[in-house]
Symmetry: C2
Subunit: 161 residues, 2 copies
């Protein structure tokens, strides 16, 4: 990390500023929209989405955490909260006595179905409606490159950190 630091040039600085600016605003925007319309922050909504797409609407805690890119600890707290809301319930894993499955309840599914259209509309209005199809492809490619460079390979936890 030492040596002569290679600072960002003007173009890079501008891009970095714009990136921070846009991602912050978008995240806040989505959080507020979902908090208002679905009663939960964006990340919690994402957990319900993951569960809804999984076979039998259930996932092992670790797998769900991996998909959502959060720590197991954070997931534990999140599921506790969603359980209190009745959107999710826990279930012992038959094959591994250590394991827990998070299961999307019917009520959780209902909340998801009710809030999904509004959420998609918000994402569309904030992002896709403002970009050309070409830009959508560019964004995907850029994000894929970045994500590839940050993948799991840390020593401490297998997949994060």
């Amino acid at each position: 990390m030492a040596g002569e630091p290679r600072w960002l040039n003007d173009e890079e600085q501008y891009a970095w500023q714009s990136y921070l600016h846009a991602t912050t605003l978008l995240e806040d925007h989505l959080d507020r929209q979902l908090q208002r319309d679905a009663g939960m922050p964006h990340i919690y909504y994402g957990l319900l989405v993951q569960l809804s797409q999984a076979p039998r609407r259930r996932l092992r805690m670790t797998e769900l955490a991996q998909n959502a890119k959060i720590t197991r600890s954070r997931l534990s707290h999140a599921i506790a909260r969603l359980e209190k809301n009745g959107w999710v319930r826990r279930e012992d894993c038959p094959s591994d006595k250590r394991g827990q499955n998070a299961v999307l309840t019917d009520e959780g599914m209902k909340v998801l179905e009710e809030s999904a259209p509004g959420h998609v509309a918000t994402v569309r209005a904030a992002l896709f409606d403002r970009l050309s199809p070409e830009q959508v492809r560019q964004l995907a490619e850029i994000c894929r490159s970045v994500a590839d460079g940050l993948q799991p390979q840390g020593a401490d936890l297998p997949w994060l950190r």
Copy 2:
């Protein structure tokens, strides 16, 4: 928000997934790097950067909050923490008795100078080194479009929310 919901097509879904994936990983990555090397999360670091670039290394609370895109409440708490660390101090605003200036201390400046090279290197490694110059321009343009659509015009607070 009603009517037939226009769902995301395959390309859009892929882009959205990639976006969430990449931004989450990058944010976590930067937070951890700065927490480790500078003893504060990314957003706090950004506050010090803002102050360091301001005339006389000081800014009104509201202005700083606007620049950093956070609420005044959040900033109040953040500055309280940075003040406890000795990186920042508060100062009454001469022209407006309601106002407060956040001032970057010498010690804060030192922390910034020490951690900046490592931070830039991290940003570079995670982002710019993985993108072509063309992609950097594309990213900036995309982010600018998105940010433009989310600007201040909410009713409640003038500039956020």
